[in-house]
Amino acid sequence: MTGRYAFILAGGVGSRLCLLSERRAKPAVPFGGKYRIIDFTLSNCVNSGIFDVGVLTQYRPTSLNQHIGIGRPWDLDRTRGGVQLLQPAPGLATSDWYQGTADAIYQNLLHLKRRRAQEVLILSGDHVYQMDYNVLYAFHRRNHARLTVAVTEVPENEVSQFGILETEANGHVVAFKEKPKTGASGRLASMGVYLFDRDALIRWLVEDAAMSHSSHDFGKDLLPRLVARGEAVYAYRFPGYWQDVGTLDSYYRANLEFVQAKPPLDLSDPEWVLHTQTADRPPVRVAAGAKVTRSLVANGCSVSGEVMNSVLFPGVVVEKGAVVRNSIVMHDTLVAAGAELDRAILDKEVRVGRGAKVGTGDDMTPNRACPEHLSSGLVVVGKQARLPEGLVVGRNARIGAAVVAEDFTAQVPAGGVVDGPESMH
């Protein structure tokens, strides 16, 4: 596998994830009880034998930088190859903020200079899936493709959220439409996984960079153009599970799929370990009188109350008499005695005061601030928020990061918004 090289695009803003990605890039959003979304892609690389990876960041890179570091958990702390974090840099003639995905790679073409790879793999750090990229390489070579795009079938009603491809029986791509509102035939969506011939990629990116009308994006510009002029673009149909957890609803649903007896991906497969950065935490402590069913609970948690159908990240404390139901609770959050959560997503280090009720009532008024993303009944609470004792929070509410008791003037009604102090940026 020497000579293989992958770029991972990890600059995504993830605006539809609301509070969860307000202060971190989407690939750094916690997932599945101990992971971050980018762990799936990074682990796919190393499990496929690709040990030379560049991660392109732009939006709020701090949490990603901390998470990836020098790449130890993925065995990417290597003498040759390994992982490199590639942030936009000013100063050079070709350097600026990344305009689009294609531009991000264009600005980092330098990194291909001394690498001998015949092909370049370009991945997205935003998706939940397990894929052996060797299969993609084999498909690419067998078809003498210049570009192979991995595709998956998506439901009819979601077609407009993806890049949709039309292919001939042998996989040759004959049409590509980015997020088609109407008129798309087929439901084969691009997974944001591209395998390019190295020389073709360089040629095409240089060409695209010179076009003033281009937004320099793979999906919007490059792919449609290449397909239209009949380049050897092939679609590899991926048979496995693939999830774009780009919205709060899909994020919530995907997390809870992993508490089922038959989860969509086997996270305990010793042949395909999902690696992540983990702090040393003691085993889960379940106290006498506690009740925990149908849930994922990570090391470092301490449960004395009731937990059902939920995902608890490391260090969550559920005190006696507290109830956590249908919820996702991130690292080191405390649910104090007698508090109740239902259909809530709590970010890290939140404190839920005694007897507080988060996510109650039948009122389904959509959220005032972001009705399009928060209307299915979920409550979202930002990092380090302090919810006072006895607080009642209706459905579809949004409580900002780092709010304190004084920020609450009354109970929070359905669809309510409580904003905390402005972030420094």
Binding site: G33, D280, S295, L296, A298
Partner: protein, 429 residues
């Protein structure tokens, strides 16, 4: 701390732990749901700023080599210093197993000298202890001692297990009694010694075998400044089945003396990547410690489950310690037992049934556990054992490594049975 070299004595073969130490050193014994015993001492070194560590190992050293590796987990993979495992070795002019603790140190003296430590801190890798070594070092420097020995209070009825120490009011040690039958001394030697390097070199000239008998006792007897440092924190010698089991279950008490949740003094270990604990819709679990990678579908009460344990639907675990990757099939039941790694308990099997119903009087025949007091009434099941579907293991009893169907008579293993170990290639499917 750059001038301190720690030597961890991990020679314990754990005879009194039976099958649990058949293929591992006591230091490598799993403890507390995800740790190995030696993790506590290595974490102490890391948090106390001791950055040069030698581990003296002899019994089943592979178990320690695997676990410690280059010392990454403890930030001991260093360019200068770090951790080194010192095993007995041969040269053209020398060959020898370690004859005792002092001999093990003497045989590695060349390496120790190369590290140029001002002081040598001798530790035991076989004890569970959460201790900051800095105050001990400070006390040693202040008292201008030749040797400082850490001591701790133990209950009088346990004194016969330890080296008991009498200390004068100025902190000087007056006597050292190894495993005394009767004593009024209340302080036990913790097996932690701080020597000035030069002094230790002189003492090793006489080729002593045992550190206590051949080095410390003569020093005390000849009136040298051998000083005691009293430690009041958590210290547990888990060298017997009874003490291992008791110390394990003590961790479940909300007021457990061993703090493992302290973020300022985390217990570091070589952690495998496992998913969070999964609890099924019918799971019933309380009063337990459960590590990542476990899948719980049945009932768990007052138990400790290491990574990757699977408790099948309708299965039950009670007051037991279950090590990594052991599986209980549907309806299996485990009671008062210690199960080693990779054990398979068949459908509906029962491990740790009591020999007779409580309150039932003895008939004059010997108790089923007679001669097996060391088992503390428990069932011990060795690594890689398969208990057949419907099989029954009555306690106290021991199944050696690789137990199989043939070990059961009519599907039953009677109390007092000890099944010997098998080698792995004798149990290939």
């Amino acid at each position: 701390m750059r001038d301190i070299l720690a030597l961890i004595l991990s020679g314990g073969s754990g005879e009194r732990l039976g099958v649990l130490c058949a293929e591992r050193a006591v230091s490598a014994l799993p403890f507390g749901g995800k740790y190995r015993v030696i993790d506590f001492v290595l974490s102490n070194c890391c948090h106390s700023g001791v950055q040069q560590v030698g581990v003296l190992a002899q019994h089943a050293p592979a178990s320690l080599n695997d676990h410690i590796g280059a010392g990454r987990a403890w930030d001991l993979d260093r360019r200068s210093g770090g951790v080194v495992i010192l095993q007995p070795y041969q040269t053209r002019s020398h060959a020898g197993w370690y004859r005792g603790t002092a001999d093990a140190i003497a045989q590695n003296w060349d390496w120790i000298e190369q590290q140029k430590p001002a002081r040598v801190l001798v530790l035991s890798g076989d004890h569970v202890v959460r201790m900051d070594y800095r105050p001990l070092i400070a006390a040693h420097l202040e008292s201008d001692a030749a040797v400082t020995v850490a001591v701790t209070r133990v209950p009088a009825e346990e004194a016969h297990r330890f080296g008991m120490v009498r200390v004068a009011s100025d902190g000087r040690i007056q006597s050292l009694d190894e495993k005394p039958a009767h004593t009024d001394a209340a302080l036990a030697n913790m097996g932690i010694y701080l020597f000035e390097t030069g002094r230790l070199a002189d003492l090793l000239q006489a080729r002593p075998v045992d550190l206590v008998m051949d080095v410390l006792r003569p020093q005390v007897a000849s009136g040298q400044r051998v000083m005691a440092y009293q430690f009041d924190g958590y210290w547990e010698d888990v060298g017997t089945v009874a003490s291992y089991y008791r110390a394990s279950l003590e961790l479940l008490d909300p007021s457990s003396r061993l703090e493992t949740h302290d973020a300022r003094w985390p217990i570091l270990t070589r952690d495998e990547e496992r998913p969070p604990v999964w609890l099924g819709p019918e799971a019933q679990i309380e009063d337990s410690l459960v590590a990542n990678g476990c899948r719980i579908e049945g009932r768990v009460r007052r138990s400790i489950l290491f990574a990757g344990v699977h408790v099948g639907p309708g299965a039950e675990v009670n007051e037991s310690v279950i090590m990594a990757d052991t599986h209980l099939a549907e309806g299996a039941r485990v009671d008062h037992a210690i199960l080693d790694k990779y054990v398979r308990i068949g459908v509906g099997a029962r491990v740790g049934e009591s020999a007779r119903a409580p309150g039932e009087a003895g008939s004059g025949a010997p108790e089923p556990g007679a001669g097996h007091e060391w088992l503390a009434g428990l069932a011990l099941v060795g690594k890689d054992t398969w208990v057949p579907d419907g099989g029954r293991v009555v306690r106290p009893s021991v199944i050696g490594v690789g137990g199989r169907y043939e070990d059961f008579r009519d599907g039953v293993l009677e109390a007092g049975t000890v099944v010997p170990n098998r080698r792995w290639f004798e149990v290939l499917p």
